[in-house]
Subunit: 237 residues, 2 copies
Amino acid sequence: MKPSVVTFEPNGNFCKDCSIRGSSVCSALDAAELRQLEHLGRRVQFSTCETVFSEEDITTSYFNVLDGVMRLYKLLPDGRRQIVGFALPGDFLGMNISGRHNFSADAIGSVAVCQFAKVPFGRFIEDRPHLLRRINELAIRELTQAREHMVLLGRRSAEEKVATFLLSWRERLVPLNGPSNTVPLPMSRQDIADYLGLTIETVSRTFTKLERDGVIEIIHGGISLLDPARAEALAAA
Amino acid sequence: MKPSVVTFEPNGNFCKDCSIRGSSVCSALDAAELRQLEHLGRRVQFSTCETVFSEEDITTSYFNVLDGVMRLYKLLPDGRRQIVGFALPGDFLGMNISGRHNFSADAIGSVAVCQFAKVPFGRFIEDRPHLLRRINELAIRELTQAREHMVLLGRRSAEEKVATFLLSWRERLVPLNGPSNTVPLPMSRQDIADYLGLTIETVSRTFTKLERDGVIEIIHGGISLLDPARAEALAAA
DNA sequence: GCCCAAACTTGATCTGGGTCAAGTGGCTTT
DNA sequence: AAAGCCACTTGACCCAGATCAAGTTTGGGC
């Protein structure tokens, strides 16, 4: 919430050693280009609940998530919130047409990002079609996820929503942590509710029910998936 | 539903005379490129309820909508349907990462598309970054719409959903028909329901209620927006 | 260790929108 | 012009999930 941004040495970090080197937009670049990119990005740290950018803010930067988890959300005038996604390391944020961010983003736990000023980064893309192609690829991937999520929001029951969420969240963590039935959930129950179009009570009850049914075990800071096959069946897809 | 595709002379139509020339991907191309593009695309006509492509089909073509309206949807195994969008003239369909379509598309009424075989079109994009930039722009625009729709599906009431839909559909038609309070609705009530995450009965009842309240008038094949300001207020945005 | 606040769970009740079941009316067909 | 069909509407009833209201657990500060 508060804007106490801690900035590190602009060039204290090197792209070639970057943890997300292979999965982010940067994977499209060769060693020489990476060295140029180093001068465009600066590493910025955000702590729990700090806002990285807000909906309707004029876009002045793009962000590459390096570490941590962010919630991306839109608010209705009366305060209802829809989380449109969670951003993980490797995700690239800030692309838009209008020149304004079309959702807000804040840190869940502590987050590190690589921040690129819009104008110089835009110029950098200009004559690097391979980078543009990579950005386009990420946009299309997100669009695919967004459509999948529309199905969930519009047509699935509470239990299906929760089961689907747990499975797809586990899946998203595979590139980061490797495959595991222990699924950390850094976001709050309220966040999960706002992502799934439910209330916090329904999410809580559904977790409890899944635990009673032996599908999951609720553990500190996450869940353990006891019966993946059953969860898959409940997810109905 | 049936695949009785009518194909016209491949070169019987000319890009430079194309009705969507300015609004589609092609707007990124100059006259010389347009002449080249003519050899890649062929005009294909679909009639009511014909399927243009299905989810999970291997993508062999991209499509540029020339005329008519299409419904884009995903199905759950048990038949529940979520319409993820309606495509209008100028929309470009078929981009994906997996090599398979991630939704199905069929014609609402009669539809004309410009079909491009994937491989040659992919090669055509290859060395035309300006075209890639245009495609990226369209993808980002769609992503923005998708997120807006998630808010609708997850957090809005039936009445808000219907009011929002009518207003945004009217807005989408402006580039085609000019601004008007007479809003044609070529899609069925069932389509609207599946787009808004409601049942057909709820859509029907909500239309009736909006009419009773003097916000709209239900006319043949659409509605007339009597009180745009009130509709805007009901849309809660 | 104790207190407090925040996050989460649980229970009781309510309700918006779903489900089920008839209508109704406008095209098409013959 | 009668029949039939299909899209849509309307009514009666129901239920999944929301709302309201306590608990309970967890963690952090002192």
